[in-house]
Symmetry: C2
Subunit: 298 residues, 2 copies
């Protein structure tokens, strides 16, 4: 009998759920709106139960979720969301009902750790031992994969909250992060862009300064990642990166800051290979969740 | 027959060499001045040969070296120094003559990666899965250990070169780093302190502002490490940290920057456990080299 895996990409607006044989073979898919934990998790459970009644028992379930999330395997609250600002979801247990109902292992990780894993195994960072994935969307977060596994540590990376230097033409408003003001998320996230310019990047006129300024902040993050972790590849995904001026601006700022110091990160050729867009597009989260389920089965 | 390991801590002023059974059992030790590669490496070879003639063949040799260093196992120049400013040492091959003479595996890593390994296995970070070690001496560098092994990636971490915000009372001189000016090494290393104040920290009068300013820069690095990697412990070692005001200033800056965002990094109790001094003192480099030799033997 073939293996059957459940996978969930849990997001702030929707949960993407699939049943799959492996990362390349998705058999069924459903999207569920993120409302309350009871309603959303219940609908996901119903989907898995329906598919399972037709196809057989699930071997494992992988969940890639927004955070902050308790991913310490030894913790009594493993699989719980922590102090998320998302109303009703703080302390929600994402794992228990699935483990009980389907009597199979449930493995969770953050959406960005899962996306890093997916890009490292199946996407733009295949063959790389040290990989960083950064999503630039409503918020900014990152995940790190070393030798095929996500790095957890005390919690999980929260690299969107690193402070950056202000752009010389962007000094008047403070950043929107409630904790840090001028951190990267506070200055370059989708939320920060809407607060500053009144619209997302794709609604601003051609030639607008916003992609340059956003790229300047993200380039500081990229340079810091390169110096801190020495990754073989950094993948930048998320909605803000869909603007095609952001990645070149980001690379050019990173090159200027690194200033030729590192032979593997010189402008332009090696930086173009080091800092890239996602190979899996918007599928890296759900592919990562499938990968988590595959690993759980072993 | 018991195992016999050679280990070298290769530094800019001296090479510390030992023959050991394991990290806790050192049988012989010698210090050799760092002059030319031929003279220094020759003297180290003589020491190993003498001890080996009395005690038996070496099973493996571990080398913890200053950098930048080629530590990619698959590289044709594995074990060579790269573009170090140390006269005569650029492109020096640290590994080949030992491998040839003693016919045993030779494993190299950077001094800070080796120190991170030593602190993770035998020192202040025992039991931690994700560990960062930072040395603050003539220069500033860091190493990362994940699940018992150092993280290499494209090269190795160069976290001393991350840019930082200037302290409000330290705006006049630029930092001393030839590549980046105002990076952490350019502002808070032993070299930067001597350039700015004309003396090392331990020769400045009590109550001098220098430890506060140095701690401010190092605290930015600590906060960035916490957000980027989520380590369970960060160990700060090196000569500058011998000043007992630096670590408290560093922690207090990190706490201010993190601003209570991370439950595991709140001021003061959990930050005092997260950010610590070395458990092995000045021995972390050589203990790390022994650990590299132990791993090479497996």
């Amino acid at each position: 009998m073939s293996v059957l895996l459940g996978a969930i990409e849990a997001g702030g607006t929707k949960f993407v759920c699939v049943v799959a044989r492996d990362a390349a073979t998705i058999l069924a898919e459903r999207r569920v709106a993120t409302t309350t934990p009871a309603a959303t998790l219940g609908a996901v459970e119903d989907f898995f139960a329906t598919v399972s009644s037709e196809m057989g028992a699930l071997s494992a379930i992988g969940i890639a979720s927004f955070g902050p999330l308790d991913i310490r395997r030894s913790s009594p609250t493993y699989g719980h969301l922590l102090a998320t600002p998302k109303p009703g979801w703080a302390n929600a247990d994402l794992a228990a009902r699935f483990a009980t109902r389907f009597a199979c292992p449930v493995v969770l990780d953050t959406d960005v750790n899962a996306a890093a894993l997916a890009e490292a195994l199946h996407g733009a960072a295949r063959g790389c031992g040290v990989v960083v994935y950064v999503t630039v969307g409503t918020g900014i977060g990152g995940g790190i994969v070393v030798r095929g596994r996500a790095v957890h540590g005390a919690l999980h990376p929260e690299m969107g909250h690193i402070r950056v230097l202000r752009h010389e033409r962007d000094r008047e408003r403070s950043g929107v992060c409630a904790f840090h003001g001028d951190c990267i998320e506070g200055l370059a996230s989708g939320g920060a862009i809407r607060a500053r310019y009144g619209a997302p990047l794709d609604r601003l006129p051609a030639g607008h300064e916003a992609p340059e300024i956003v790229g300047y902040y993200l380039g500081q993050l990229a340079a810091t990642i390169v110096l801190m972790i020495s990754p073989e590849r950094i993948v930048f995904g998320g909605g803000v990166m869909n603007n095609d001026r952001v990645l070149p601006e980001l690379r050019s700022t990173a090159a200027r800051l690194l200033n030729g110091y590192l032979p593997f990160a010189k402008w332009p050729s090696s930086l173009d290979e080091l800092i890239v867009g996602p190979g899996l597009g918007e599928r890296s989260g759900i592919v990562g969740a499938i990968t988590l389920a595959e690993a759980a089965r072993i």
